[in-house]
């Protein structure tokens, strides 16, 4: 069956069947390179996406869930100022993650950073947990996210 959804701001028309996972459709039909499907059980975090602004594991979602949804992958953020800021803050904290979880970490960071209000630390830790990453300290991640948000808030106020 044919369905439509929004991927990184662009409307996508794809042909799906009931047996396919969101991960497969994004990788094969939409040419998304940032995802990988290692576990197919939502346990590794390498398939993380944002669906309607919320983190979700694309490997445990059937493709028919996509209809009329808004999906974002890290490709949507890599060229933004917010991404560069968060990336340099993480580096400054000495918390650059390994290559296997970097996309998931940055995506979780971006989902927090683009909010207008600062999230509580518990919420940041909860969001970071989605990435199942052991190579980054939650406190450092929280610090990088909050500092990035402060930089952005200051930049917005500056004429």
């Amino acid at each position: 069956m044919n369905i439509e959804f929004t991927l990184n701001g662009t409307i996508q028309k794809v042909s799906i069947t009931s047996v396919e996972r969101v991960l497969d459709v994004l990788m094969r039909q939409c040419n998304i390179k940032s995802l990988s499907g290692t576990c197919l059980e939502g346990r590794c975090g390498s398939c993380l996406i944002l669906v309607d602004n919320k983190p979700a594991y694309s490997c445990i979602m059937p493709a028919f869930f996509l209809r009329d949804r808004r999906v974002e992958t890290i490709e949507n953020f890599t060229k933004t100022r917010e991404y560069s800021l968060l990336y340099s803050e993480l580096n400054r904290e000495g918390s650059a993650s390994c290559s296997s979880c970097q996309n998931a970490i940055m995506l979780m960071g971006m989902s927090l950073v683009r909010r207008t209000q600062a999230p509580a630390k518990d919420e940041i830790f909860d969001t970071l947990a989605n990435a199942h990453c052991d190579c980054i300290a939650p406190e450092d991640f929280a610090s990088a996210v909050l500092t990035t948000m402060q930089h952005l808030a200051t930049a917005r106020k500056t004429p």
Binding site: M1, S18, L40, G42, K54, P55, M61, D126
Partner: protein, 277 residues
């Protein structure tokens, strides 16, 4: 690899009509029944699927003076900020289910209708007297959550049941005790949750329930009544009496580990004694 026909009903009427015409439609809103469970590359469903996350009646949350009611297709994340999950131990319990990326997909309806065992939130909802609304084409019925268990406490979900809403009476929870025993809860773990909840006035217990739920569900109605009918704080002999009643009924069930659960029930009752201080 068997392909299924996918339906996207727009409202409850369309869904009930579909269920009337096609008896074996698999209702899907989240991922509880297949998310962790299907590890093969291709997913497998019944020949016909109804995806119900688009149905407005099934994703709404209503709060009145006396109760909260939420649609069965609400995700667990959407319920995090409403009674009874919004704070304290209930929130922690919700967070044990999975990360937010899981809770953003899994729905409360899938959680309750899992069918193979009673999942994480079941015991808490049973303690709070949750009621479930089921719909058929010409009939709406409301059942207590214990409708999902047979007389031995084994999950008993009849086919053709369309769970539409969950209603929980709003009450003051003055005592809430939650303990997990065993390993994992899902999908086939040996874990169970012991939950007790009570509303306590100055000199009496207005409401008390203690539920254990995992592979089976357990509750001792008589012991609860013994506790409710006694003055508060509970006299020592009533506590002993209640513990004896729990021990007897656990043994009679021939399923639960009495040596493991009885100390936890004792802890729950001690916690109840301190809840109004």
């Amino acid at each position: 690899m068997n392909l299924s026909e996918i339906h996207y009903p727009h409202n409850l009427q369309e869904l009930t009509l579909l269920l009337e015409h096609e008896r074996n439609v698999q209702i899907i809103a989240g991922g509880t029944t297949f998310g962790y469970v299907q590890a093969s590359r291709y997913l497998s469903f019944e020949p016909s699927i109804a995806y119900i996350r688009h149905i407005p009646e099934l994703i709404s949350i209503h709060k009145t003076e006396r109760m909260i009611s939420f649609g069965a297709a609400c995700t667990l994340s959407e319920l995090e900020h409403v009674y009874p999950f919004e704070q304290g131990q209930a929130k922690e319990l919700m967070h044990t289910i999975g990360t937010s990326a899981v809770r953003n997909i899994a729905t409360i309806g899938g959680h309750l209708m899992y069918g193979k065992r009673f999942l994480t939130l079941w015991a808490l909802l049973a303690c709070l007297d949750a009621e479930l609304e089921f719909k058929a084409i010409l009939k709406t019925s409301t059942k207590n959550i214990w409708y999902l268990a047979d007389e031995r406490g084994v999950p008993a979900i009849g086919s053709g049941n369309l769970l539409t809403r969950i209603r929980i009476p709003l009450q003051s929870i003055d005592h809430l005790f939650i303990k997990r025993v065993g390993g994992s809860m899902f999908p086939e773990g040996d874990g169970a949750y012991l939950v007790s909840a009570a509303t306590v006035d100055r000199r009496s217990i207005a409401n008390f329930k203690l539920v254990v739920a995992g592979a089976r569900a357990y509750r001792d109605y008589d012991a609860e009544q013994r506790i409710i009918s006694s003055p508060y704080p509970l006299p020592a002999r009533i506590l002993q009496n209640a513990l004896r009643m729990y021990a007897e009924s656990l043994r009679k069930s021939n399923f639960w580990n009495v040596e493991l659960l009885l100390p936890l029930i004792s802890q729950a009752l001690e916690n109840l004694q301190r809840s109004n201080t």
